[in-house]
């Protein structure tokens, strides 16, 4: 499909999509299939890690086009993507680096230091030459993201973008900071909470926040309670 055809399709999808529009969208998505079937399995073998690919659903594409109007469909970077989950920050850095050494990377978005509404991960935007987005997450970051998704089901999709009940948003942000602090403490070898090996102001502040949050665990858990 040409760029013009893709963008005209995007316009129709944003307004009143028909079954024929979805078939055309599927034609566009088919262009990514060789990446899923050949490139990603080869990368998984090279990197020695599990990579789970995800074809962006029509619903997600419709939502994104509507949410980010007037974004053109041809510029949507994550029509196709994959997720890599690793144990620690050190693994995340290593996998990101090894990934970038093997593919043509257009952008690395490090959301660990500057989270998006609490969401922390490293996203690697690649070209094969079609755009493809890798999400590289630690297990803790992934658990936070899954919780956020699950709560968005419960309270509304806008929760992922800072909307929805303010006490839930605040608790999610607090837990994002908590995960960042615990990962920082673990990464720097200062994971012990008894204070014996804490030796920098930053680590002490992180530990204090962690301990304070543990003290508020009941309150936070209530705010982030999953119904059902």
């Amino acid at each position: 499909m040409t760029k013009g055809e893709i963008d005209r399709l995007g316009t129709r999808l944003r307004t009143a999509p028909t079954p024929e529009d979805l078939r055309e969208l599927d034609t566009y998505r088919e262009e990514f299939v060789p990446i899923f079937r050949a490139t990603i399995p080869a990368l998984a073998r090279d990197l020695g890690t599990a990579i789970v690919s995800r074809h962006k659903s029509a619903r997600s594409i419709l939502d994104k086009l509507e949410r980010n109007a007037p974004t053109r469909l041809s510029t949507v970077q994550d029509i196709a993507g994959a997720r890599i989950i690793v144990p620690t920050i050190a693994d995340q850095d290593r996998i990101t680096s090894e990934l970038c050494a093997r593919i043509e990377t257009t952008q690395i978005v490090d959301r660990r230091s500057f989270p998006t509404y609490g969401y922390r991960a490293v996203h690697v935007l690649a070209r094969f030459p079609l755009p493809f987005e890798f999400q590289v997450r630690t297990l803790a970051q992934h658990r936070w993201a899954q919780l956020s998704e699950r709560l968005a089901d419960q309270h509304g999709f806008e929760l992922k973008y800072g909307g929805g009940p303010s006490h839930v948003v605040a608790a999610l942000m607090t837990m994002s900071r908590f995960v960042a602090d615990t990962e920082y403490l673990q990464t720097t070898g200062r994971a012990r909470a008894d204070g014996e090996i804490i030796d920098t102001d930053e680590a002490i502040e992180a530990l204090e926040r962690v301990q304070m949050l543990v003290g508020r665990r009941g309150e936070i858990s209530e705010a982030l309670r999953i119904d059902g």
Partner: protein, 84 residues
């Protein structure tokens, strides 16, 4: 390869369809059919995932497979002082 087609109801937080495929082409065909059939159901998320193993998918997209594994308690490291 493990290809799985999911239809997940966001409002009910419930997976309505979970179908595993040997044939990726068939999986994509079924996805399109399901997307067309659910065009008027904005809360229904139709997702196609591919991985080397089923176990990988269950971890990376636990929300569809194991909702009980998701919760704030999972964010508290078990060794942390103050954790139960």
């Amino acid at each position: 390869m493990a290809d799985v087609l999911i239809a997940y109801d966001r409002r009910k937080a419930q997976t309505l369809v979970e179908r595993w495929f040997e044939d990726a082409t068939e999986a994509r065909r079924e996805r399109l059919a399901l997307e067309i059939a659910s065009l008027d159901q904005p809360d229904l998320e139709v997702v196609l995932l591919e991985a080397q193993t089923r176990a990988d998918v269950r971890i990376s997209h636990a929300r569809y497979f194991d909702p009980l594994a998701i919760g704030v308690d999972r964010l508290f490291p078990p060794t942390l002082k103050g954790s139960p």
